[in-house]
Amino acid sequence: MTLNEIETQFTELTTSDQFHRFEVVIESHQRAHCEVYSRYGRKYLPIAAFKHADVTTFPISEAEDIFMSSSTGGNERSRHFIRKMSIYQDAVCAGFESVFGPGPFTIWAFLPGYIPNSSLVRMLKILIERYGHDNSQFFLSDHLPQIESHDPPLIFFGAAFGLLDLVESNIYRLPGDARIVETGGMKTHRREMTRAELHAQLARGFGLQENRIWSEYGMCELLSQAYAKGGGVYYPPPWMRVIIVDPLNPEQILPEGEAGLLAITDLANIHTVSSILTEDLGVKRGHGFEVLGRFPGSALRGCNFLLDSG
């Protein structure tokens, strides 16, 4: 199995054996060619490495694109050097299609404050281009675009805080088959709201059933996305594996139901590092996972009943 074969076949894998075979080849390549990963010497590279170093297996001058994270509180931004945009497109489209189907759809994107080279903006451009009907668009005002009865079903992507702002100032009535896909983004704006409360508020504000409020879990440092089809449990695509690890000892895997950090292996990250230790707290739920919120290392300081109850 060569890297070239993996690049073209990773979205087609179906079994854990295949995953493992791909993973071994990719990890060996990354250990040999990514200096940071090689020096780190452990499986899951802390996500902050994308801020502090050039996490690549290739010269950064050869990058086709650079994804940048949002910056909070004046902190540095993460930079994800993209060796081949085609790999990202394949991951985004295969993941989307397995959840939503082949389309076409009316796709709206409401991402106020997002920089053009954020991975989310890049992702939605790809989705609109590939699956979007003519009426698909990015918009920034609180006047929603018009939707006609003969338009294909609406998928409305939006950052959580942006969508909340919309429904706090207006009440909308979207078609009953519409789906809202909130993409997270609660960390700096609404610290005291659970995902369930968020979804209930969005459902009321857009005139939809709560099961029409879906979620996407993605980030600048990962090329693949997981989706939750209503409720709070995300399911990764077959080429992405999520485990929960002890925040105090990330080499310790936690059993289902215990809260810990999400450690993710995304085989689409072929040319950077595939196995990432996030700063998100989560819980394993069957084949999926739930995200409980942001949890940087400093959150281990002081008391915390959520971790204590484990």
């Binding site: 990963y37 010497g41 005291e192 369930a196 919120g293 400093s298 915390n304």
Partner: protein, 348 residues
């Protein structure tokens, strides 16, 4: 009330570690085998400090003649990163005459019940119950809890669904202490700072996570005192493994850092970003204005600000700056997150 104050004072005397006291000693032994990161030295230090803070004068000063209007069932969710961490809440609830319904921390489930048992052995009949988490929602009318932003949001949602109003809840989330140096610190103050960093493996909400130092000050003396302090307060056996992962990361990303023999502590230079427990960040500053701006940005996470008396004189007057060495010796009347627990309990 007067008899309870005297009784608590007497129990604090019994529990001070100068003599053996069977109930306390049994609880300490059991605590050492609980799933936590406590060392015997740190447990004894925590007990001593907390018992020293309890006497008739400090209790009367703390209560300051405040009394609640009526009795409430107060739920307290204890989540202990340091031994006896919920003691102040327990004392506040019983001194205010409320019923205490506590969820014990899995890390420290023995010390608080043993302390209550000692009080009852003095002839009191405390209205104190220890329950499982599910039970607290059935019994409590108000709530005290501490957590991260993510977990506070979860618990607020649950509390709300069980009819516990926001104004009857005291949520705390501040997570770490900071120290501001001016370079003129004495050897004793460096030694105090080392305690502020290392005690309880850096896991307490008052432990120092960030040290602000003038650019021409190198951390050599700090490292020297960290090593010396480890001779008195040895690291928990799990600390070096935990820090090894962080050290490997700092090494891989070329971030300047230093560590003690056997990885018993870790210090790195860099931006003012608090790290995991046991890993302290040394942040260089050129002017105090920079420090003030950074601290204002982190203010909702900072539990305490420490500085020497000379450095304190240069800091904003409205900051509550405490002396170096005081992180694990707060007064009985200290206000976690700046919120007065007695005020909260008197206004339910």
């Amino acid at each position: 009330m007067k008899s309870l104050i005297i009784g608590l004072s007497d129990v604090a005397q019994l529990w001070s570690t100068l003599d053996t006291y069977p109930l306390r000693d049994d609880a300490v032994r059991s605590t050492l085998s609980a799933p936590n990161h406590f060392t015997s030295e740190a447990i004894m230090y925590a007990i001593d400090q907390q018992m020293n803070a309890i006497n008739e004068a400090t209790i009367i000063h703390w209560l300051n003649d405040r009394v609640p209007n009526c009795k409430h069932q107060v739920g307290v969710i204890n989540a202990g990163n340091i031994p006896l961490v919920g003691l102040q809440d327990l004392l506040a609830v019983i001194l205010c005459g409320h019923a205490y319904i506590g969820v014990l921390s899995k890390k420290s489930p023995y010390l608080i019940p043993a302390f209550c048992e000692t009080i009852n052995q003095q002839g009191f009949d405390l209205d104190v119950r220890f329950v499982e988490m599910d039970e607290i929602w059935k019994q409590a009318e108000s709530l005290i809890a501490t957590g991260s932003d993510a977990s506070i949001a979860q618990i607020q949602g649950i509390a709300k669904s069980h009819g516990i109003l926001r104004e009857k809840s005291l949520f705390r989330s501040n997570r770490f202490g900071i120290a501001i140096l001016d370079g003129d610190e004495s050897e004793d103050e460096w030694s105090d700072l080392a305690l502020d960093i290392l005690l309880h493996e850096g896991m307490g909400c008052r432990n120092v996570a960030l040290i602000f130092a003038p650019t021409d000050l190198e951390p050599d003396r700090c490292l020297h005192h960290l090593a010396q302090t480890r001779a008195v307060f040895p690291a928990h056996p799990t600390t070096s493994g935990r820090l090894a992962i962080q050290q490997a990361y700092l090494d891989a990303t070329n971030q300047p850092h230093a560590y003690g023999e056997g990885l018993e502590f870790l210090l790195s230079k860099g931006a003012a970003e608090p790290q995991s427990p046991g890993h302290v960040r040394w942040v260089e500053y050129q002017s105090l204005d920079e420090v003030i701006a950074i601290i204002n940005g982190l203010i909702n996470q900072i539990q305490c600000i420490l500085a020497s008396p000379t450095a304190t004189r240069t800091l904003p007057k409205d900051w509550n700056v405490e002396p170096l060495g005081s992180t694990q010796t707060p007064e009985l009347s200290w206000k976690p997150d700046g919120k007065d627990t007695i005020d909260f309990l008197c206004n339910l």
